[in-house]
């Protein structure tokens, strides 16, 4: 290769590199998770501050799974120094760590996992902070406490419950192969729940442009290829319109009529094997299944916050108020979704239909936005277009969860009894943990020498007579007492995954988190959710 040529190549490639649309290193690092929660979820993670109380193996496992995907900041709060017994069951401590502060050693090793994450060790003691500096605790996005003494836990959970703007708390308890966790939060709203139910195509209530398009087609005049490419949505809209014209404006109601309607669909085929018509027949129920506001969404309209909406209410509720007004108008549905499912069709027909849906969805979003800005109560700061977009796009999957205080379920034996009907052994495990906490609140140090009877009588105070779950209670207490304070690595690893997963759902406000006590029995590899 001549020198001029190689220079050519060099200059050529330097300019060429700039034309790549390859993402930056950060996007690359997070590529596989961005496909789950998108850049909005990643931004929420990166601005979060997590406080983890206790430097146990389980705590470190949870943190590992939060540091890797890139939370903004974490603090480990633990006043203890590393002992011989801590080494070996905690991957984020080393032999040389013995005698040093646990929090400091773990922060150092956890930070190695991701240099984009800030980590801080706090070696003071929770009791002192609760007394002297509670605002420190409430300044975090989320708190996670593992095997914390119930007395401190009680104070902490009361503090965080005392104001609706205080952060949520995940309480984690584990002993050997048994574990449970509980998420204490005030109110958790989710716009993008990643709902698995697709939004309605509104075939029963076709919007004007869709109806016009369907009626403009004369199926009998199409050549056979085109005939086989008409999307089933169009076929159904047209067929339903024609059916209604000859049936006093009614859709097929009785089984007989529905069979007849399907026969009518069959009669429209020009070839026996037209896949689009097969699809139309399979989807025919969409003609008589009425599209209205799903009950899970309309029930949100009764939310007390809507009745007392103020400029400082969260944007979610301003949007919800607009949605309520929107659905009170014709056609009494949620705003149309622009996404179409996979359909047997060709490109031209599919794109035409997609454009019809897109345009209409855009119009309905405009309509929604008009209602939003006309709400009698306006938010302090106007809601940005991106959020409106997201809200409208996901309006069929909106969620509002209201939480309760840690241990609230233990004051309600009726709910425990109900849980024990469905999940006897897991309810028993929960009761064993609650009994252990009750003993500890009395100043008893629970270990493998604690008499089972002591735990059993505490459990009975919470639950009442055991009746049919007595055997489960005995088993759970026996298992718990084998190693009530053991932080087993396998359990820590498992729990680290499960709890971090829930923490990510809470922080990103995407996907639906566990509500109630999630009780885990790793001997049988089972989980149940109690008191949801």
């Amino acid at each position: 290769m001549s020198q001029t040529e190689s220079q050519d190549i060099e200059t050529a490639t330097t300019s060429l590199q700039t034309t790549s649309v390859a993402p930056d290193n950060k996007t690359r690092r997070y590529d596989r998770q961005l496909r789950l929660w998108a850049s909005s979820g990643q931004a929420a993670l990166e601005s979060s501050k997590i406080l983890v109380i206790s430097g146990s193996g389980t705590s470190a496992s949870v943190l590992k799974n939060l540091v890797l995907p890139g939370i903004g900041h974490f603090t480990i709060l633990d006043p203890h120094k590393v002992t011989e017994a801590d080494i070996g069951s905690n991957f984020f401590l080393e032999t040389e760590s013995v005698g040093k502060y646990k929090a400091e050693e773990e922060v150092r090793l956890l930070k190695e996992l991701n240099d984009g994450v800030e980590g801080v060790a706090n070696t003071s003691d929770l009791a002192t902070i609760l007394k002297n500096d509670p605002t420190y605790l409430t300044s975090f996005t989320l708190l996670i406490a593992h095997n914390l003494h119930p007395e401190l836990l009680e104070q902490l959970s009361s503090l965080l419950r005392s104001d609706p703007f205080h952060p949520p708390l995940i309480v984690v308890r584990s002993a050997g192969f048994l574990a449970e966790f509980f998420i204490q939060f005030h109110e958790h709203t989710i716009i993008d729940s990643h709902s698995e139910t697709p939004p309605s195509l509104r075939i029963d209530k076709p919007f004007p442009a869709l109806l016009d398009h369907a009626l403009s087609l004369d199926l009998s005049k199409l050549d056979p290829t085109d005939h086989g490419h008409i999307p089933y949505i169009v076929i159904l809209v047209k067929a339903a319109h024609e059916w209604k014209a000859s049936h006093d404006g009614r859709v097929p109601k009785t089984t007989e009529e529905r069979k007849e309607f399907k026969k009518y669909l069959q009669s429209l085929r020009v070839k026996a094997d037209e896949e689009n018509f097969e699809e139309a027949e399979a989807q025919a129920y969409r003609v008589w299944a009425v599209t209205n506001v799903p009950s899970e969404i309309s029930s949100l309209f009764n939310d007390p916050i809507l009745a007392n909406l103020t400029p400082t209410s969260p944007p979610f509720f301003h949007l919800l108020a607009a949605l309520k007004t929107y659905t009170e108008k014709e056609p009494h549905t949620l705003p149309l979704s622009a996404t179409l499912p996979d359909i047997k069709s060709d490109t031209t027909n599919y794109i035409h239909l997609q454009n019809l849906y897109k345009r209409r969805a855009e119009e309905e979003k405009e309509e929604f936005t008009k209602i939003l800005v006309a709400n009698p109560v306006q938010p302090q700061t106007p809601i940005d277009k991106g959020l409106i977009d997201e809200f409208v796009r996901n309006s069929h999957g909106l969620k509002v969860l209201r939480g309760e205080k840690w241990r609230a379920v233990d004051q309600d034996s009726a709910r425990l009894k109900e849980a024990s009907q469905s999940y006897p052994s897991h309810t028993a495990i929960h009761l064993a943990f609650s009994a252990m906490a009750a003993l500890e609140l009395k100043g008893v140090q629970v270990d493998h020498t604690t008499p089972a009877e002591d735990l059993k009588s505490e459990a009975a105070k919470i639950y009442g007579p055991f009746e049919e779950i007595e055997e489960e209670i005995d088993n759970a207490i026996a298992e718990l007492l084998r190693a009530p304070n053991a932080d087993l690595p396998t359990t820590a690893a498992f729990l680290g995954g499960l709890v971090a997963q829930e923490a990510i759902k809470i922080i990103t406000k995407q996907y639906v988190p566990v509500k109630g006590y999630c009780v885990i029995d790793l001997i049988s590899s089972t989980t149940s959710v109690i008191g949801a």
């Binding site: 190549i9 050529a12 690092r29 596989r32 890797l68 995954g497 001997i523 149940s528």
Partner: protein, 640 residues
Amino acid sequence: MPRSSHALAILGSGLYSKLPETRVLLVGAGGIGCELLKNLVLTGFGDITLLDLDTIDLSNLNRQFLFRKKDVKQSKALIAAKTASAFNPAVKITPIHANIKDADYDVDWFSQFDIVLNALDNLDARRHVNKMCLAANVPLVESGTAGYLGQVQPLLKNVTECFDCLPKPTPKTFPVCTIRSTPSQPIHSIVWAKSYLMPQLFGEDEEDGGTELDDAEKQGENADEIASLRAQAAAFKSVRLALRDSTPLEEAARKAFEKVFFHDVKTLLSMADMWKSRKPPLPLNYDEITQVAASSAKENGSSPSVNLRDQKQLSLAECLELFIASSCRLALRLRSGEDTISFDKDDDDALDFVCASSNLRSFSYSIPTKSRWEVKEMAGNIIPAIATTNAIVSGLIVLQALHLLRISYFASKATPPTATLRNVNIQFKPSAPLGASRIVPPNPSCGVCRDTYTTVHCDPSKTLLREVIDGILGDGDGVGTGPREVSTYEDKRVLSDPDFDDNLDRTLESLGVTRGKFLTITDEDGDWATLAISICLLPKDHPVDGPHLILPSPTPIPPRKVKAAPASLKRPADDDDGIEISEGPVTKKARTNGTSPPHLNGNGNGTKTFLTKSPSKKQILEDEGLIIVDKDDDVIIIED
């Protein structure tokens, strides 16, 4: 020792004291593998062999926590072992940077382990380990994740289902003409760019590229269309050359663009018949696009945030620009010594090229375009992956492994207690994060675990096929079932059947039945279960003058088949069915019309293969990436 105190209390001293000597094979050092290795070390396992083929990529670091940025491009197995050993030097971790399907890892090698843990992400390797564990009779824990979902399955021969007892979903198929001439969806453009255009321009020079078309012509496909495809193929030669010789880079790239997006489209358009009921594609004119781009360049002033750069929909002009730029970069790599470049989702140049060319094709055919982000997911079959799911799965794997070991160490082999074994799913339900079910017994018609496994040790260069068959069938009087009518296979290749004995006096080596492979013997009348014979080498201390073949002792007798249904590997009946002639895994397909399939001696190799009618065989072909499409009666390779 304080390290052990918790585990000892929970596991009990019996099992716990066994863990240091338990020999564990961990296959895969990726997301699950890293977690699992850590868990094994913490739980008290003391002898772990870790095997992985891959090197570390930046996109691994969001979950594969034993790796750091400085480790990128290094062997996963080696780095993972190094990081985990530092934690507890007392644990012996043996890393192997290799493919688990290599001949070295034969049944003898698998037999040394007490338990195998799969932490793999591809179906092919998972099936392979499943089969090896059945042959070596080693318990296996199977696992997998996809986003928030995951699954763990303990597998114990003759007790539980095997990995293949339930059919696995088959990949999507596309008729070849849809890909080559009449795409209608974004995925068609992407498959075309990745599996057709990229190899055509930057892949191996296909000397016999025309034979596929010759075959198609013989089969009476549209002669005009074939002639045009043939002309297209010839024109590729000059473009390939331009990309490789000293033609200025941009000129070569422009030549490629004009050939593919202008001339080839023009040629297709000349076949008026094709476009009677379809919207014809639009030829893309280089000068027009660049002129339009120049005049509108100032309109898009705002550049998107860095983070979302690859999620942007590219304009026609941007696609053209990206096509030229990425082609130049790829061509430069060829000129700097790379022989061929094939698609790799983590290769930016390749991904840019596939993104640009698939979108250009979509513009041409009025198909919606896709962002680079979306193209990557579709072309690279990317499955989302996060640390949390891997952590949950790995915790569950250790528990199932402990249950399996408790059975192998302490339980009666005849009636192992299976009450603690669970198939566990991590599911998408906030009301029940785990779904656990009791284990299921083997599927009686499974074509993998219902076979009778045995091993021969031999020198494949001296051992004849006949010797193995005769030795295994025995005399029926104390040894084996006695002589009977059988067919033999290696994988899908027929080596012999009752009417075809040419290969019986050839050596195993000459037939490609070598170390690590299986020789399968099926009963012609379907009376006996299939025998799967794994080929191992003679022991190291075997005397030079000793026999070249050591048969298993006692000779295994397969169970009698309950149903009289023909064996699934039987040759198809005479009808309009395809036959394959093959030496390797890739096949070319010819067609017979109502005549008996001839016995073919392909390429002097003497083997022949039938494409059988059995759906299970078809499935295997599909799983290996050979997609057979009825409509066009052709074969395209989508994914390997």
